[in-house]
């Protein structure tokens, strides 16, 4: 059972306190967009063996959303960060570079 630290309230939260929200940093596509773009936004999701950025909600806690960077193989957590951002913070990316060289490839 995962343990993720909610950056909003600081609690190291049990997985049972959390609700998963799938892949992070999707860009919303609205009316008038191409079908393929809309399909990509709404349906197509990464399913990597390794580094993954994902959304979580501290549902049975402070109720706030946040992001987590996690390894889907070892379940190592590289960091959690605010939901109010369009990309992972630099320090977390550097940490992942250090621990998983070549992951961006």
């Amino acid at each position: 059972m995962l343990l993720l630290t909610c950056p909003n309230c600081g609690v190291a939260a049990e997985e049972t306190e959390l609700a998963p929200g799938g892949e992070a940093h999707l860009k919303r596509v609205g009316p008038g967009s191409e079908d393929a773009d809309f399909e990509g936004y709404l349906f197509l999701r990464k399913n990597p063996k390794g580094v993954h950025f994902e959304r979580w909600r501290h549902a049975n806690g402070c109720g706030k959303w946040f992001h987590a960077a996690r390894c889907t193989v070892t379940l190592e957590v590289f960091g959690t960060y605010s939901a109010q951002t369009t990309e992972p913070p630099k320090d977390i990316l550097l940490k992942i570079d250090d621990k998983r060289p070549g992951w961006r490839g």
Binding site: R55, A59, E76
Partner: protein
């Protein structure tokens, strides 16, 4: 025979005698006994029958690995099947019964299966399920059903109590043997918060039986000193009778503590489930001895060598008068020495190794015990118990060289580290060919959230099988290497392999695994399922390694290439009661009550669960059927006035300078244009375009909207709003609050509704001041009221919200004021029928996650002026704009009957799957007391263009019933009654 020795037994108290019942017979034991040791002390060597062949089964082991001695414990509401006699502590009055036999343990009719073992070969179930089918149905299934199954399911409700326990520690040590205690002491001295779990009632593990010294003193002294030292430390918690059942991600561990199984008179919960979050886990889970595969190794009296000496040393019980020891290692010589020391006979030690010259074999020879090296067992003699053993050369095919009379056989095929917990979260194993076992590979440990190893392993569990390997300053006789023996003798003939058991409980033999390999099974996971090897309640604790060694041999490949099956929690079975904990009966799940709940209860409401709420379905009077009650409630409301508890409706405040902009994105309608004091019905879609909720939106002031949601939708819709606000439009100045439970809401509905409110007195509720679809705040009969002129019934209707604390009093005030008008409380069914009579949709009836507002003819509620709203882009997709989508219509049967719920409209021809084609389906169907006939709504192909057309709907009985397509608004289509 097996009996109690005159002296000895370090765990029992001979000064006290306990009585216990075994299959209706009263027997005696001592405090400290297990049920198994007490049975052996009473010469009860036959304890059960095997699963498939109903072979006689005796006690094999002395701990959790026991596959055979499964018994039913207790009676009535305290009965529990499949309990291991080896871990059940004896108490006065214990009741136990053997299982899996009929009509009796001694004479079992199912044992005939064993006479024709070819009837149930490997893969029997798979083969007969497939072919021949008729044979399975008429012959195998009836016979197997009668004979199969371990134990009986309890019939009564469990009388015991269970609880959950949360715990946190820096270091969790699993196992209270020497290695575990030592690890706990080291961690405790570093100031860490330490929790130690030991599954048995005793500290020290095997060491007190196996012997050895620490710093010149007996190891038992070291154990006592260390336990005392740990118990004195404030940062250490110690729990016996508490097993770590499983290790999960990020240091999460489930513990299973048995609190009163050994002392039923004790108060408190029976079992406790520990939910532990540990910074680091140390597994000190020891090792389990392996059986040897020789013909007749399942006959009662054949036991693990370690178990034989446990029964002698721990309980003062001899499993037999003449014990032959058969081994491939030095450790089993300890058993021979213990047997001899107890004054019993060891006719011979049969050692498969060509020579045995270690310290322990030399000690055995010095004690005058005959050691036969290079020798194996050709065959065990006996039926329900061992009577003798035939010896052969281990290297040959098994020709009998000599026969030794004996009544017990102590076997040892070496030891396997208990790697289960290590493996639960992905710890990897390596095969140690020298010592013939899988051991944890510390370089491939499970990792925690920080990427560092989260589990480490010590002691026998790590492969360190001797005391000096575990503790500094420890001494014990040096042991020489074992010789892997997977079959005895090496070249055993087919008839012998047919009698070599690997899995005692499930009756899997060497021949079965070899057959599986022959039939093409190469993966150990497939072979396991095909043969059922290791699938019994002991999960292969004894059979695992022997089975995969036989498989590897049959496949001609080394053991590591075959690999192991997956180890999964729990380590040993845990009770369902412990898993449920306190969550049973009334507190299984929370019940949400409206402020008026108690009044409904007193009125005899028939309840309907709605989410976690209970809502009155109807209020039947004495002798009245539910249907009659519903009809009465509807008629009273339509002709006079009804009263509805609508408190469960979701109420969400949306507030802030950008609230209007946000509401426009949430709803398909334009909400920003709504004037303060006005109400508007709105639709909410998912980003995928499908209708997810509806309700009336009220603009309280410029900055504030009150969004009503469905009863079941309040939490979900609030979460939906928050998700968009927090993760997409986080720069918008809006906040939301779910105020559902802060308000009691009551519908006063019907032509006389206004008269009731006017009688209460207070604010002006006239049509001029408070017209349809408006809202006002004031007081009514002295209550602080928010009055909404909205209607879900088509009648003149006021929904009035008062603070929750005033809800019950307000309900009573309305009932009193309404008495002279015949005011009638109504429930959810009347609500549903009345809304259907008006053609109003219901989320969950007309919608099912595949329906868009356009399907329901709700285009009028979809703004054409807005660039965007959640779901708008999705509704532009070709499938969503397809004119072939089924559309909402009303349906009237020609004969006035009520259409079956969920019924499909049949069409000509068949679909791509060869099923009858359909052209629509019923979404809501009721008897309308207002119209005196059945009415329904449904989604029908081109429905709105086919008014007055008759189509057929299928019925449950197989026929069809004809219905006419009509306008879905059955009652007051002009809407005159609600707008007065």
């Amino acid at each position: 025979m097996s009996t109690r020795l005159k002296s000895g037994g370090r765990l029992i108290d001979r000064s006290e005698t306990l009585k216990f019942q075994w299959n209706d017979k009263w027997l005696r034991g001592h405090p400290g006994d297990t049920l198994a040791s007490a049975l052996l002390a009473n010469d009860q060597t036959l304890v059960g029958r095997s699963f498939k062949y109903h072979r006689p089964r005796g006690i094999v082991a002395s701990g959790v690995e026991e596959p055979n001695a499964l018994v039913g414990l207790g009676k009535g509401a305290k009965f529990e099947p499949n309990q291991r006699a080896t871990t059940a502590e004896l108490f006065d009055g214990l009741i136990a019964e053997s299982q899996n036999h009929w009509p009796s343990l001694e004479f079992d009719i199912g044992a005939v299966n064993a006479l024709v073992p070819k009837l149930f070969p490997a893969g029997f179930y798979y083969k007969t399920f497939i072919h021949p089918r008729a044979f399975w149905k008429h012959v195998f299934e009836p016979v197997i059903r009668k004979a199969a199954g371990l134990g009986k399911a309890p019939k009564d409700r469990d009388a015991d109590r269970y609880e959950h326990f949360y715990a946190f520690c820096d270091v969790l040590v699993v196992g209270g043997g020497v290695a575990g205690l030592n690890a706990a002491l080291q961690a405790a001295k570093e100031g860490k918060r330490v929790l130690v779990l030991e599954q048995t009632p005793h500290w020290g593990g095997r060491s007190p039986v196996d012997g050895g010294t620490v710093d010149g003193k007996p190891v038992a002294d070291w154990i006592n000193d260390t336990v005392e030292a740990l118990e004195r430390m404030d940062n250490v918690r110690m729990r016996r009778r508490c097993m770590a059942a499983g290790i999960y991600d990020h240091g999460y561990v489930i513990g299973y503590e048995r609190l009163t199984d050994h002392a039923p008179a004790k108060q408190g919960p029976r079992h406790r489930l520990w939910r532990i979050r540990a910074g680091h886990v140390v597994t000190a889970t020891g090792a389990i001895e392996r059986p040897l595969s020789f013909a007749g190794n399942d006959i009662p009296g054949v036991m693990l060598a370690s178990a034989v000496r446990d029964y002698i040393v721990d309980y003062g019980v001899s499993p037999g008068d003449r014990v032959v020891v058969v081994t491939n290692n030095d450790d089993a010589y300890r058993t021979a020495l213990a047997v001899r020391e107890a004054g019993l006979v060891v006719p011979a030690i049969v050692d498969a190794r060509p020579e045995a010259n270690g310290a322990l074999p030399q000690a055995a020879r010095a004690a005058g015990i005959m050691v036969k090296t290079g020798t194996g067992i050709a065959k065990v003699q006996g039926g329900k118990r061992v009577t003798g053993v035939e010896l052969c050369a281990q290297a040959g095919e098994g020709a009998t060289l000599e026969t030794l009379p004996c009544d017990a056989i102590a076997m040892s095929g070496g030891w396997s580290p208990v790697v289960h917990l290590w493996s639960h979260t992905g710890g990897k194993l390596t095969w140690d060919a020298e010592r013939a076992f899988f051991a944890p590979d510390p370089s491939r440990a499970p990792v925690g959230h920080d990427g560092a190893p989260s589990v480490s392993v010590v002691g026998a569990a790590a492969g360190d099988l001797t005391l000096p390997a575990i503790l500094d300053g420890a001494e014990a006789p040096e042991e020489t290497p074992l010789r892997p023996v997977w079959m005895m003798p090496e070249g055993a003939s087919a008839d012998k392999r047919l009698k070599m058991w690997l899995d005692y409980q499930n009756d899997v033999k060497v021949s079965d695994v070899q057959l599986a390999a022959q039939e093409g099974y190469e993966s150990v996971e497939h072979t396991k399922r095909y043969t059922t090897l290791g699938m019994a309640t002991d999960q292969g604790k004894l059979s695992n390694i022997n089975g995969l060694a036989v498989l590897s041999d049959a496949l001609g490949q080394p053991i590591p290439q075959t690999g192991t099956t997956t180890f999964r929690p729990p380590y040993t079975p845990i009770s369902m009661g412990a898993i449920a904990g306190e969550a049973r009966g009334e507190i299984f799940q929370p019940l949400r009550r409206t402020p008026i709940h108690s009044r409904h209860e007193a009125a005899g409401a028939h309840w309907e669960p709605v989410g976690h709420w209970r809502r009155p379905y109807c209020f039947p009077k004495a002798g009245e059927s539910h249907r009659d009650a519903v009809n009465r409630e509807i008629n009273a409301t339509r002709s006079g006035v009804g009263l509805l508890d609508a408190s469960t409706l979701g109420k969400i405040l949306v507030k802030g300078p950008d609230a209007g902009q946000f509401m426009d994105m949430l709803y398909t309608n334009m909400m920003s244009s709504l004037k303060p004091g006005k109400c508007r019905y709105g639709l909410m879609c998912s980003e995928n375009g499908f209708l997810m909720d509806d309700g009336v939106v009220v603009r309280l002031d410029d900055d504030t909207f009150l969004a009503h949601t469905t009863t079941g939708g309040a939490d979900r819709i609030h979460a939906h709003m928050e998700e968009w606000l927090q993760t997409e439009w986080w720069d918008w100045k809006v906040y939301t609050a779910n105020v559902t439970e802060q308000w009691a809401q009551i519908g006063v509905v019907g032509p006389k509704a206004r008269a009731v409110l006017e009688k209460l007195g207070g604010m002006d509720v006239s049509a001029e001041t408070l017209p349809f679809m408006t809202y006002a705040e004031g007081t009514l009969g002295g209550f602080d009221a928010r009055v909404f002129r909205i209607s879900f019934s088509g009648e003149l209707s006021f929904e009035i919200a008062v603070p929750a604390s005033q809800g019950l009093a307000f309900w009573d005030a309305l009932a009193e004021a309404g008495a002279e008008f015949g005011i009638t409380p109504y429930g959810t069914e009347a609500l549903h029928v009345m809304r259907a009579e008006k053609g109003f949709i219901m989320i969950g009836d007309e919608t099912d996650g595949t329906v868009i507002p356009q399907d329901l003819g709700l285009d009028w509620a979809i703004s054409k002026k807005k660039d965007d709203y959640i779901g708008k882009r999705a509704q532009e997709r070709s499938h969503m704009t397809d004119p072939e989508r089924w559309k909402l219509v009303g349906l009237e049967t020609l004969d006035g009957s009520v259409l079956p719920d969920g019924s499909y409209a049949v069409a000509d021809g068949t679909n791509a799957n060869g099923q009858g084609a359909v052209q629509g389906r019923v979404t809501s169907t009721y008897y309308s007391p207002t119209l005196g006939r059945g009415i329904a709504m449904g989604l029908v192909l081109h429905g709105p263009d086919r008014m007055d057309e008759e189509i057929a709907f299928n019925t449950v009985s197989g026929g069809t019933v004809k219905a006419k397509i009509v306008n879905a608004v059955f009652y007051d289509p002009e809407g005159e009654k609600q707008n007065v």
